[in-house]
C-alpha cells in the first residue's frame, strides 16, 4: 500500500520535473519543408553583340581594329570586359594596362602595320574620354596617333597579342556606336524650371531590366561636367540605395533621405526620373525613402506632361515671303496665324518668336539690317515693333525658351536682347566671330558657330536677363566649312556645311561629338540657315527640319524638297516677278 503510494509520488515528481526538459523551445528540429518555392526563371534577353575576342582576327590589322573595340562594355574590374581586354595584351603591356573607370574614345583613321608585323601605327582623332557614368568628356590629349607593338602567338589559340600599348585604354568611336546606346538623362536647371537633357552612353550588354537602375545611378552621379553650371544634380550624398526594378510597368526606386531633402514630396525627383525612364516601358513610379514609401505616381505620362517644356504638339512653320512672314502649310498640321499684324509685317529678313506666359515676344530683323522687338498680349499678334538701335544682325535671332531673352549674331559679335528692347553684347569666352546661334528647347544650352567652328555652350539666364555662359565645347562635325546650326534633338545639333566630298550637307552631331549622322547631303548650295522642330522622344516628337540654301527654303526629310511660294498660306500673286522668276519663301523658322 505504502510503497505503491510512494511510487505514485515519485512518478508525479518525475512528471513535474520532466516539464522543464520536455517543454519550451526545442534545441533542434528536423527540417520542415513548407512548400515548393518558385522555379528559377531564365534570361529571355536576346543575344547582345559583343566585341570580338582576341583570336577572332585573321590579320594583324583586323586584330588591332578588334583591340580598339575590346574595351566596349561595362566598367567592371575583373569582369568580362576586363578579361577580354586583358586577353589582348601580353608582356610589358600588361604592366600598366587595365580597365579602370575611363576609356579614351578616338576616331580611328589609318592603321599602318609595319612589314615586321610588329610595329603598328594607329592614326586617330580625339573624341573624348568616356567615363564610368557614360559621359564623354572633352578630350585631354591631342595625340593624333598611337604606336603599338604586337606579336603573333603560337599557343593558346594563336592570333596576336599587344605587347606594347599606350597607357590609356583606347576605344574606337565606331565600337562606341556598335556596343553602346545613347541614353538621355534629365537634370533640373538651377532654378528648377526646366529639365536639361544630358547625353549618356550605356553599354548595350546591360540587360533591359537593369537599365533603369543604371540611369538612376547616373542621376545620382549628377549632370555631366560641362553642364555643371546650368543643371543641378541631387543634393550631395544622395544615394540610390538599391536596384530599381520595373515590375509590371512600375518602377520602384529607393533613395536615401537626402535625395529629397530640398524637394518636399519628391515631386521634382519623380518628374526627373519620369522623363529619364519613360522610354523603358514605365507606366508608374514608386518613390521610397529608406525603404519607406514616400510617393506613388500612377502615371508617368502625367508626370511628364506636368513638366514645363516649351514645345507645342505641332510644328508651326513659317517663312518669309516678299519680306513678309507667312505661315507654311507644310510640313504638317494646320497652319497657325501669323504672330505679327499686317501693319508691322513688312521688310522682314529674319524673325523669331517666343511664347511667354503672357503672350508672344517677337524679334524681327528687318532689312537694313535692323533688329526690332515687340510683344503681343495673350493670343493676339504683335502689333508694334520697337527698333533696337545700334545693332546690325548678321544672322537670324533666337529666343532662349522660357526666358524673355534672345541672342543674335551681329557685326560686333553676339548680342543679347530682352523685353526692355535693348541689346547688349554677350561675348562667350574664347569665341569670336559668331555667325550663327541656336538655342536648345530647355533654354540652357546654345549652339554657336564661331570662327567657322561648331560649339555648344551652356547658358544661364539671370533674373535681370543677364546671360552667364559656361565653357564652350568644340564639336567636330567633320565638315570643311560650317555655316548654319540648329538643335535637331535634345542632345544633338544639326549643322550645315560642306562635307569631305564637297557636298553641301547637314549632319547631326551629338552634343559630345561622338555621334555624327548625316542628314542630307544634297543641298544645292551653301546652307545659310537651319530651322528645326527638334526630336523629343519622351514626347514622341520627331524632327522636322527646314533650311535655306541659295536663297530658297527647303524641307530636309531624307532628301531636300524646296518650299514653294504656293506653300505659304495666303501667298499673294507675285507683285513684281524678277528676273529669276517669282520670289520664293526664305528664312524659315518655327514657333514652338
Amino acid at each position: 500500500m505504502s510503497r505503491r503510494r510512494i511510487g505514485a509520488l515519485v512518478v508525479a515528481a518525475g512528471l513535474a520535473a520532466g516539464l522543464v526538459a520536455g517543454c519550451g523551445i526545442p534545441d533542434h528540429t528536423d527540417v520542415q519543408v513548407d512548400q515548393a518555392g518558385p522555379r528559377a526563371g531564365s534570361d529571355q534577353q536576346p543575344t547582345i553583340p559583343q566585341p570580338a575576342k582576341r583570336t577572332e582576327a585573321s590579320t594583324p590589322k583586323e586584330f588591332v581594329r578588334n583591340f580598339l573595340a575590346a574595351a566596349a562594355g561595362e566598367f567592371d574590374p575583373g569582369g568580362p570586359t576586363s578579361q577580354r581586354l586583358q586577353d589582348y595584351v601580353a608582356g610589358d603591356a600588361t604592366r600598366n594596362f587595365s580597365l579602370k573607370d575611363e576609356v579614351t574614345v578616338v576616331r580611328v583613321g589609318e592603321i599602318t602595320v609595319a612589314d615586321d608585323n610588329v610595329h603598328v601605327h594607329v592614326a586617330v582623332d580625339q573624341i573624348g574620354i568616356l567615363n564610368s557614368a557614360g559621359v564623354i568628356l572633352a578630350p585631354t590629349s591631342t595625340a593624333t596617333g598611337y604606336d603599338l607593338q604586337i606579336r603573333a602567338e603560337s599557343g593558346s589559340g594563336g592570333g596576336w597579342r599587344v605587347v606594347k600599348a599606350p597607357s590609356e585604354v583606347l576605344l574606337d568611336v565606331e565600337a562606341l556606336k556598335s556596343y553602346y546606346t545613347e541614353q538621355t538623362v534629365y537634370f533640373w536647371n538651377t532654378d528648377r524650371t526646366a529639365l536639361v537633357p544630358d547625353l549618356r552612353w550605356l553599354p548595350s550588354e546591360v540587360p533591359l531590366s537593369r537599365v533603369p537602375t543604371e540611369l538612376l545611378a547616373m542621376i545620382e552621379g549628377g549632370p555631366s561636367p560641362w553642364l555643371a553650371g546650368v543643371a543641378v544634380g541631387l543634393p550631395k550624398d544622395s544615394k540610390l540605395l538599391i536596384n530599381a526594378p520595373i515590375v509590371n510597368g512600375q518602377l520602384t526606386m529607393n533613395w536615401s533621405p537626402t535625395a529629397v531633402s530640398n524637394d518636399s514630396g519628391g515631386d521634382y525627383l519623380a518628374r526627373q526620373v519620369a522623363w529619364t525612364v519613360s522610354e523603358l516601358g514605365t507606366q508608374s513610379l514608386q518613390l521610397k525613402i529608406n525603404g519607406q514609401l514616400k510617393g506613388k505616381y500612377d502615371s508617368v505620362r502625367e508626370l511628364i506632361d506636368r513638366t514645363p517644356y516649351p514645345i507645342a504638339p505641332e510644328a508651326h512653320a513659317y517663312a518669309v515671303l516678299d519680306h513678309k512672314i507667312g505661315a507654311l502649310g507644310l510640313p504638317a498640321g494646320t497652319p497657325a496665324p501669323v504672330p505679327l499684324t499686317d501693319a508691322v509685317n513688312k521688310d522682314v529678313q529674319w524673325a523669331a518668336f517666343n511664347r511667354t506666359s503672357g503672350g508672344m515676344d517677337a524679334a524681327v530683323v528687318t532689312v537694313g539690317p535692323e533688329l526690332r522687338l515687340g510683344s503681343g498680349v495673350g493670343g493676339s499678334p504683335v502689333e508694334a515693333l520697337t527698333l533696337v538701335p545700334g545693332v546690325k544682325p548678321t544672322a537670324a535671332p533666337v529666343w532662349l525658351p522660357r526666358s524673355r531673352t534672345g541672342l543674335v549674331p551681329t557685326e560686333k559679335g553676339l548680342y543679347r536682347f530682352g523685353p526692355d528692347h535693348k541689346a547688349d553684347p554677350a561675348p562667350i569666352k574664347g569665341l569670336k566671330d559668331v555667325t550663327a546661334v541656336a538655342a536648345a528647347l530647355d533654354g540652357q544650352r546654345i549652339a554657336v558657330i564661331a570662327n567657322g567652328k561648331l560649339y555648344v555652350v551652356p547658358v544661364s539666364v539671370m533674373q535681370d536677363g543677364e546671360l552667364v555662359f559656361g565653357d564652350a565645347r568644340l564639336l567636330d562635325p567633320q565638315l570643311e566649312s560650317v555655316t548654319a546650326v540648329a538643335w535637331s534633338g535634345e542632345t544633338a545639333v544639326s549643322v550645315g556645311g560642306k562635307d569631305g566630298a564637297d557636298r553641301m550637307s547637314i549632319v547631326d552631331v551629338s552634343v559630345d561629338g561622338a555621334r555624327r549622322t548625316p542628314r542630307i547631303y544634297d543641298a544645292e548650295g551653301a546652307i545659310s540657315m537651319i530651322a528645326a522642330y527638334p526630336e523629343i522622344r519622351v514626347l514622341d516628337r520627331s524632327t522636322t527640319m527646314l533650311y535655306q540654301a541659295q536663297n530658297l527654303a527647303w524641307l530636309a526629310a531624307g532628301s531636300s524638297t524646296q518650299i514653294e511660294r504656293s506653300m505659304v498660306v495666303g501667298a499673294p500673286a507675285s507683285p513684281s516677278p524678277g528676273p529669276g522668276g517669282d520670289p520664293q519663301p526664305i528664312a524659315p523658322f518655327f514657333v514652338y
Binding site: 515528481a13 523551445i25 527540417v31 518555392g37 540587360p207 537593369r210 536596384n243 526594378p245
Partner: protein
C-alpha cells in the same frame, strides 16, 4: 532501510492524517503536473508559432524584395550583382544587423558558381545553416528548422528559414536566421513560473489537507482517548465541547453517552453491591440462629432414641438438612467473598500427589456406597506446584464428588500429569455424560443437569462455581468435556509457578477413550474459564 520502511508503514497505518496528506500530495501533484505540462507546452508552442509567422512574413517580403532586386540582372557575372546581394541582406537585416545578438540574413546561390554566399554580418554560420537545410532550399523547397549555435552571442537557439528566389540567371536562396532568445527566455520563465506555482499549490494543498485533517482528527483522537479512559474505569472523563459544529455535536453526544453509561454503571454497581451485601448479610444473619437451631437439633438428635420412631426419623432428617443448610451457607459465604473481591490466594509450593490422595480419600466411602470404583493415577515423583492446597483440595473434592455422583456405578479415574510448566488433574467418569453445550452450563450457580434428580450427596449447586473461581484465582483453567453416554471429564490445569501464564495443558480435555471423532477440543479454553461469572440475584 527496512526499519525506515517499517516505520513508514507503521505511521501510514496508524495515522489518518498522514494518509490524507500523502494522498492529497500525490493526487494534486499529478493534477498539477498534467496542468503545468499543458500550460507550458501550449505556451511554448504559441511562442514558437508567433516567431515562425513573423519570420514567415519577413521571408515573404524578403523573397519579393530580393526577387525584385535581382530581376534586373540577366547574368550572374554582371557588375554589382554582389553589391546588390549585400544591399539585399543589409536591407533585409535592418538597422542593427551588426549587433551580435541580432539575427542574420543570408543569400546563397548554390546552383550559380559565380556567386558566393553573402551574409548580413560576418561569422561562421555553418553550424546553424547546415547542409540539410540548404539542400532542401537549393532543390526549390521552403525549409524551416530550429538550430542551436554560437553566432557571436553565446549558445542561442535560432529559427532558420530559407526560401528560393528566382532570378533570370538562376536560383538564389534567401535565409533568415532569427534568434529565439526572447521566446526561449519567455518559455523558460513560463515553465519556471508554472513549476513554482504548481509546487507551491501542491505544498499549500498538503498543508491545507493537514490542517483540515487535524481539525477533524484531533477531536476524534480526544474522543478515542476519552473513550479509552472511560473503558479504563475513569467514568467521569468528558470531552471539551467548543462551538456548535459537527465536532461539537460529536463531543456533546459522546459526553451524553458517557454520562448515561456512567449513570447506568453506577446504578448497576450499586445494585450489585447491594445484592452482594444482602447475600453476605443474610448468610451472616442466618448463621447465628442456625447455630442455636443446630445446638437444639444436635440435642434432639442425640436424644432421638428416646423419641418415638417417627419423631426419631424426623430428628435425623432435621440433622441432615441442617448439615446441608450449613454447608450451603458456607458456600454462599465463600462465593460472596469472591463476589466482593476479598478472595486472596495463599500460594505455597505444594506437592500435588498427596494433595490428590487427600482430596480423593474422603470420598471413598461415598464411592463404595454408590458401587463406584475410584482409581487414582499419580506420578511416582512429587509434582510441586505453587498453589493454595486448601483451595486445590476443595476443587478436587468437588470434582471427584460430582464424578462419583454421576458415575452410574462405573469407575472414576483421577489422573495427575505435569510437564514442568503446568500440572493438570483430570477427573473422568463414565456416567450419563453431558449434552452438547452443557459443558459451559455446569459452572453456573445452582445449575443441575436433571433438576428432578434426587440428591444423594446433598451438593449445594455452588461447588463448580466456587471451583472455577478457585482455579481462576490460581491463574489456572477448569474445563469440562462430556458426551451423552460416554461420561464426562473435568480437567484442572495449574501453572507450576504462580503468576505464569498458561499456554497448554499436559492432559487432553477429551479423553483418549472417548468415541467422538467429530468433536474437537475447543480452541480457546480460556473462553470457558473467562466466561463471566454470573452473579446470582
Amino acid at each position: 532501510m527496512t526499519l525506515f520502511l517499517v516505520t513508514i508503514e507503521h505511521t501510514w497505518r496508524r495515522s489518518l492524517q498522514v494518509r490524507v496528506v500523502t494522498l492529497t500530495l500525490v493526487v494534486s501533484s499529478l493534477l498539477v503536473a498534467v496542468f503545468a505540462y499543458v500550460v507550458a507546452y501550449r505556451s511554448s508552442t504559441i511562442l514558437l508559432d508567433r516567431a515562425k509567422q513573423s519570420v514567415d512574413a519577413q521571408l515573404d517580403s524578403g523573397q519579393a524584395f530580393a526577387s525584385e532586386q535581382l530581376i534586373v540582372f540577366g547574368k550572374p557575372f554582371e557588375p554589382n550583382v554582389r553589391g546588390t546581394l549585400q544591399d539585399i541582406v543589409s536591407n533585409l537585416a535592418g538597422g542593427d544587423s551588426q549587433d551580435p545578438s541580432s539575427g542574420l540574413v543570408v543569400v546563397r546561390a548554390d546552383n550559380v558558381n559565380e556567386i558566393t554566399a553573402v551574409q548580413s554580418r560576418p561569422g561562421d554560420i555553418s553550424g546553424v545553416l547546415g547542409g540539410d537545410i540548404t539542400r532542401v532550399v537549393r532543390d526549390g523547397g521552403r525549409a524551416t528548422a530550429i538550430r542551436s549555435g554560437n553566432l557571436g552571442a553565446g549558445q542561442v537557439k535560432y529559427l532558420v528559414k530559407g526560401t528560393p528566389v528566382s532570378t533570370k540567371f538562376g536560383q538564389v536562396e534567401l535565409y533568415y536566421i532569427e534568434p529565439l532568445t526572447t521566446q526561449d527566455s519567455a518559455a523558460t520563465q513560463i515553465n519556471a513560473t508554472v513549476l513554482a506555482t504548481g509546487a507551491t499549490l501542491v505544498l499549500l494543498l498538503g498543508l491545507l489537507s493537514a490542517l483540515v485533517t487535524r481539525l477533524v482528527v484531533r477531536p476524534v483522537r480526544v474522543a478515542a482517548r476519552t473513550a479509552q479512559r472511560l473503558s479504563a474505569g475513569l467514568l467521569d472523563q468528558r470531552m471539551v465541547v467548543s462551538g456548535e459544529d459537527d465536532l461539537a455535536l460529536l463531543a456533546a453526544s459522546f459526553n451524553q453517552m458517557a454520562a448515561n453509561l456512567q449513570r447506568q454503571i453506577v446504578r448497576l454497581e450499586d445494585m450489585s453491591r447491594l445484592q452482594r451485601r444482602f447475600t453476605s448479610d443474610v448468610s451472616h444473619e442466618l448463621r447465628t440462629p442456625l447455630t442455636t437451631v443446630r445446638m437444639a437439633a444436635d440435642l434432639i438428635f442425640a436424644e432421638r432414641e428416646r423419641f418415638p420412631a417417627d419423631v426419631s426419623r424426623t430428628a435425623e432428617i432435621l440433622q441432615t438438612e441442617l448439615d446441608r443448610f450449613e454447608s450451603l451457607l458456607t458456600d454462599l459465604l465463600e462465593i460472596s467473598r469472591y463476589d466482593a473481591g476479598f478472595a486472596m490466594l495463599d500460594a505455597e509450593p505444594t506437592d500435588l500427589v498427596p494433595l490428590v490422595h487427600r482430596g480423593v480419600e474422603p470420598l471413598r466411602a461415598l464411592a463404595e456406597r454408590c458401587g463406584v470404583e475410584l482409581r487414582v493415577e499419580v506420578p511416582a515423583s512429587p509434582v510441586i506446584v505453587e498453589a493454595d492446597p486448601r483451595r486445590v483440595e476443595r476443587i478436587l473434592r468437588n470434582l471427584v464428588g460430582n464424578a462419583v455422583e454421576h458415575a452410574e456405578g462405573r469407575p472414576v479415574v483421577v489422573r495427575l500429569v505435569s510437564d514442568g510448566v503446568a500440572a493438570a488433574v483430570a477427573v473422568r467418569d463414565h456416567g450419563l455424560g453431558l449434552k452438547p453445550g452443557e459443558e459451559k452450563l455446569v459452572f453456573n450457580r445452582f445449575w443441575r443437569a436433571d433438576p428432578s434428580r434426587a440428591r444423594q450427596t446433598g451438593g449445594t449447586g455452588l461447588g463448580l462455581s466456587i471451583s472455577l473461581e478457585d482455579a481462576r484465582l490460581h491463574g489456572g483453567w477448569l474445563e469440562a468435556w462430556g458426551a451423552p453416554g460416554q461420561g464426562a471429564q473435568f480437567r484442572l490445569t495449574l501453572p507450576v509457578r504462580a503468576g505464569d501464564r498458561l499456554t497448554a495443558s499436559p492432559v487432553r480435555l477429551v479423553p483418549e477413550d472417548a468415541d467422538v471423532p467429530a468433536v474437537t477440543p475447543p480452541p480457546q479454553p480460556r473462553a470457558i474459564t473467562q466466561a463471566p461469572a454470573e452473579v446470582a440475584p
